[in-house]
Amino acid sequence: EPPSISPSCASCGLSQTDGDTRVDVGLLEAVKRHILSRLQMRDRPNITHPIPKAAMVTALKKLHAGKVREDGRLEIPNLDGHAASMNEVEEETSEIISFAETDESLTSKTSLFFVISNEGNQKLYVSQASLWMYFKLLPNVLEKGSRRKVTVKVYAQEPGFGSKWNLVEKRVDLKRSGWHTFPLTHAVQMVFAKGDRRQNLDVRCEVCEKLGIVPVLVNTADESHRPFLVVQARAADNKHRIRKR
């Protein structure tokens, strides 16, 4: 940036004299390495095909994406609605949002899977995991003001047991199109416990079609309603971590 645009920018020395540039480029590289090491990454990720913004924005809007403060830090509201400064955060936690994928190996149209990453291959304890799914109500199906209750069954495949699927069942009350969550903590905990990273799911709603209800799965024409999985995790051996000084 030319100095005239951002005169108070501390790192604008980068584009000034040769001597300063040499010093600051070294510093910049050191800071880059510092950030990557704190995120337990060797290199910056290679982003070749970014996630559609619509999908990302919807996922973040639905969660407490927080507010970026003037000093660059992020404020995360607590579940009870009060904003808590990150200064209060002592424990290292992760929140992983994974978007649904599908491939040809999946036989059923209702099947999808998630690849849940784990930087640094650290031992993570999953404290909470939930699937977010959008249910679309087709127009003119319901009379104005009426509602329908349907039972949605989410089958989660156990890692290591090819044919074993665990069921999470939820009664969904639909008045209009909207997002609904399904608890998958136990299923994801099992995936992590087995050292696996892939969660296969199968979503069934037997009467949905008859009632004009469409559970949105992976659909390139409707990216903003792509299902996503939210995993809250923390380092399992946090209490016994040894720091090198």
Partner: protein, 115 residues
């Protein structure tokens, strides 16, 4: 803690802000938009070690005990180090296109002092 303003060579905090857009990292870091990579620099003369506001550590205590006994080791200099750090949350894409929010403790240098 002192802020570096060029008027003194004493231990101080130098602010260093990196805008992720300028280094081309905004394609994978969603929030925040930049990082305060502040660092400590400057001299720590003997009288600054162990003064209120500077780092208190086992080493400071040992060196102070030596000084009190008039045995201040000449070669033992104190260091200008971060004395207060704050955490930072980051929201970013990883190689598998997951969005990750990580709360990283001790990420930003808030104050510097001599230890």
């Amino acid at each position: 803690g002192l802020e570096c303003d060029g008027s003194s060579s004493l231990c101080c905090r130098q602010q260093f802000y990196i805008d992720f857009r300028l280094i081309g990292w905004n394609d994978w870091i969603i929030a925040p938009s930049g990082y305060f990579g502040n660092y400590c620099e400057g001299n720590c003369p003997a009288y600054m070690a162990g003064v209120p506001g500077s780092a208190s550590s086992f080493h400071t205590a040992v060196v102070n005990q030596y000084r009190m006994r008039g045995m201040s080791p000449g070669s033992m200099n104190s260091c200008c180090i971060p004395t207060k750090l704050s955490p930072m949350s980051m929201l970013y894409f990883n190689d598998e296109y997951n969005i990750v929010k990580r709360d990283v403790p001790n990420m930003i240098v808030e104050e510097c002092g001599c230890a």
